[in-house]
Amino acid sequence: MNVLQQIEKKYLRQDIPEFRAGDTVRVHVQIREGEKTRIQPFEGICLRRHNAGAQSTFTVRKRGAGGIGVERIFPTHSPLIKEIEVVRTGRVRQARIYYMRQRSGKAARIRERGQFR
């Protein structure tokens, strides 16, 4: 293990569930409003995971108010993430499912993983 990995080690979280692109996840993020902090959930489809030690991130896309697509990039190991729930697993063929940005409605469906059609 090299020096960088050793330094990163203590910042890595072990409590992150397994999920991948195509899965629907609900991320509970701690946010600050003035002096108060509260937990806000953000639920959507994971478009990609970027694995890079302590700098790992994942992107979640959801349909926000008024049908506007909203994407958020979370640092996977951030202490501000209180919980990640895997709501639904999805079977996709790409590791980066950016094509979902172009899809809406029926075309934006993703098949559940581990199920036969």
């Binding site: 020096v3 330094i7 990163e8 701690q30 302590a54 700098q55 190991h77 951030s78 202490p79």
Partner: protein, 222 residues
Amino acid sequence: MQGVLGEKVGMTAIFEEGGRQIPVTVVRTLGNRVVGKRTQEKDGYTALIVGFGERRVKRLTKPELGFFEKQGLVEERQDGTRIVKRHIREFRISAEELAAYEVGQSFDGATLFKSGERVDVTGTSKGRGFTGVMKRHNFSGGKATHGVHEYFRHGGSLGACTYPARVFKNKKMPGQHGNKRVTQQGLTIIDVLEDGLLLVKGNVPGPNGGLLQIRRPVKQRR
């Protein structure tokens, strides 16, 4: 003012208590050693000569070896290889400070710096070779369309005409970019770890494995 030599290990990011992610550069400073002194009487100025890194004795020329042997600075690695310090640099310090150091004394960044302190970091920037003005000076180049041909990455005009009838000095033109001594001032030390590892906020000049000089800041923050 005094400093240490170090090696850029690489960059990563750490999380603060507040949850903020901060980019840090890891610098290894273990194994700094005083290899000599410059004194007022002999050299006309005072400075500490510091060595860092490893170099096999086998690789030295005789005059080089003589410098180390005279001071008894030849070390032995665990596997029995005889080594000396690879990099030698001077740090200008006052005569009083100089008296506190002995030739042969070892130190590292942890003995000199605490977390939260500011430092200046000097290194040699990554060499980019002979580059054009767009990469080197951030010129915007020419137009890609509107009938432009063979004039896409040029710098444009070099100046006026009859007066001054010459190109001004320091005109930004293509040339060697990088591989130059660069000092990044006022960087914050985020943490000091064991083995003389410093975590410096932000980036420092040079490639991973490059030699760095970490010094007390020239400018004070108000």
